[in-house]
């Protein structure tokens, strides 16, 4: 395993752990959502690192390239294709979450999770 891959794997692990930490311990809902987007980013980074080939080339077949040389040296493109989908899904999920937060802020007047997303039976007392 190349050391580039090791560095990337360490980064992705750190991002996932930061995200999980934010999910439990951060109270502000927008920061919580930012933290959760780091989990998604870490997972993407991990999957891209799978396809990497040390000393390889970009998996795009240019005119004039020898096909067998290309097959032996190109990186593995399947994970890249998967990550493309996953990035877009992550962005759309984040947008929907932020939209819901904006609606709920109008009702509660605060961004604290303890107030905004408390138990359903306790929500009546917080509601303005």
């Amino acid at each position: 395993m190349a050391y580039v891959q090791l560095v990337v794997l360490f980064t992705s692990a750190a991002l996932i752990i930061i995200g999980l930490y934010a999910a439990i311990f951060v109270d502000n809902i927008i920061k919580k959502i930012i933290g959760i987007s780091f989990i998604e980013e870490g997972a993407n980074l991990f999957i891209v690192a799978i396809g990497y080939r040390p000393g390889g080339v970009v998996p795009i077949l240019m005119p004039g390239m020898d096909t067998s040389w290309f097959a032996a040296n190109a990186a593995y493109p399947l994970p890249f294709g998967l990550v493309l989908t996953s990035i877009v899904i992550g962005a759309s999920t984040l947008a929907v979450m932020l939209a819901l937060v904006m609606v709920l802020y109008r009702r509660y007047g605060t961004l604290s999770t303890k107030v905004m997303l408390a138990d359903t039976s306790k929500q009546e007392e917080y509601n303005e």
């Binding site: 989990i39 997972a43 759309s92």
Partner: protein, 484 residues
Amino acid sequence: MNELIPLMVIVPLMAALLISAFSKFNKITKIFAFVVAICLPIIPLASNYGLHYFGGYAPIMDNVTNVMFHPAITYSFTFLQQIFIAMVGLLTFLVIFIYLNKYKEVSGPYLFLLFLGTAAVTAMLLTDDIFHMFVFFEILALAQVGIVAASSIDYSYEMALKYMILGSIGSPIMLLGIGFLLALTGSVNVTDIAAAVHNGLVNVTSPVFLMSLALIFFGWLYASGLPPFHTIKSGIYSKAEPHGAALLQSFTVISMISIVLIMFRIYSSLPIFEVLIVFFSILAMVLGVSLALTQTDFRRMIGFLAVGELGFIGLGIGLGTQFAITAGLFQALNEIMITALLFIGFGAIVNATNEVDTRKLGGLLAYHPKVGIMLLIGGMAMAGVPPLSGFQSKLMLVQASLSCGFPELSILAIMVSIATFVVFIKTFYAMFLRPKPNDLEVEGKEVPRSMIFAMGVLLIIIILLGLFPDAVTSGISNFVGGIL
């Protein structure tokens, strides 16, 4: 005709897009949605069994190792897929029928979400590609959030946001697990991965393989609402509109079985896999039913009951024999219908009384006798009273666990059934039989005809399946024999 296989996903998907684009033409949208909804259960019944390769890339045989590779996204359509897709199609039809009858002005986005969810679960059932399944799993989560947020019940936005935040932890974790599998095998096709595992190309005792099991398993827990996600699942059921909740629980059941079948094909050689499934199923049954006993909001109560019933499906699959898996899948089929019946029926009561607290209800049998009788039969089917369909599947499960040498599980399953019965009878008494409280107004409010029609259709299927279970179980048993 094998060309119909991709149409099962394409038709609801295209219908969803067209309806949301042209939703200002109210009349045309209504007719179009109705026609598409009728087509949904018919397409799988008219289609032949077989495989469909997208793009026409047929499998390649590697001459050196004699292993097949699947370069295309593959849809496989067998009896199991047929029966479940037809059932979801029927349920979607009934839900859309209720919706179209209830509102004069239809909302395009809501119909869009309903069709999108149906397309997503259909694709999850059909697909043989683990990443394709993940993509539709995410789309399904978005559709579920939309259905919850679109309801007019108090605090539905809060519940939708909670579900979404939990989901955006659950699904990247599952993606990570898929990444581990991809790193080990270099493929996302389930058949290829299973072949690599069974041919010994992958070391099944390596920590990476076990890690991928842990991560995908966590994603499965989120998808199916087993503990620790039972509270949020019951919450979203109680905050959606009743017909929406009926569809949501079918989405949950189907995503649960489609993911667990894929996991079973890959990880069945690991003994810990079955231990984990049985452990979480027991937890779901115990927590779900004991929390349902203490609820006073009856929608929340059915939500917890639905989660408790999911434990039976997991139990059947966790036992791992052919008979047990057949019983679990049959239980899944029954649960889709029975829980949908209960959600629609209790939703009719909410419609007629605007009250969800069982303590403030009573004496409704005199006003809504049809709904009451149908709900009673549905609840009995859920608790496993003969000769209804719930009884057949639960009997099979009890027999299966006895023949596997786990009599404790049989006792537990019977106890959970009895507790379900207690929950149901308690609620039925409080709502229908006890004298009517003075401040409850029920005069002059009718239950919509479409709801009674939908309940009738579901009830007929429940009774027929209870009388002739072999019509379904023999086909499911063949399918299970194929994947074992």
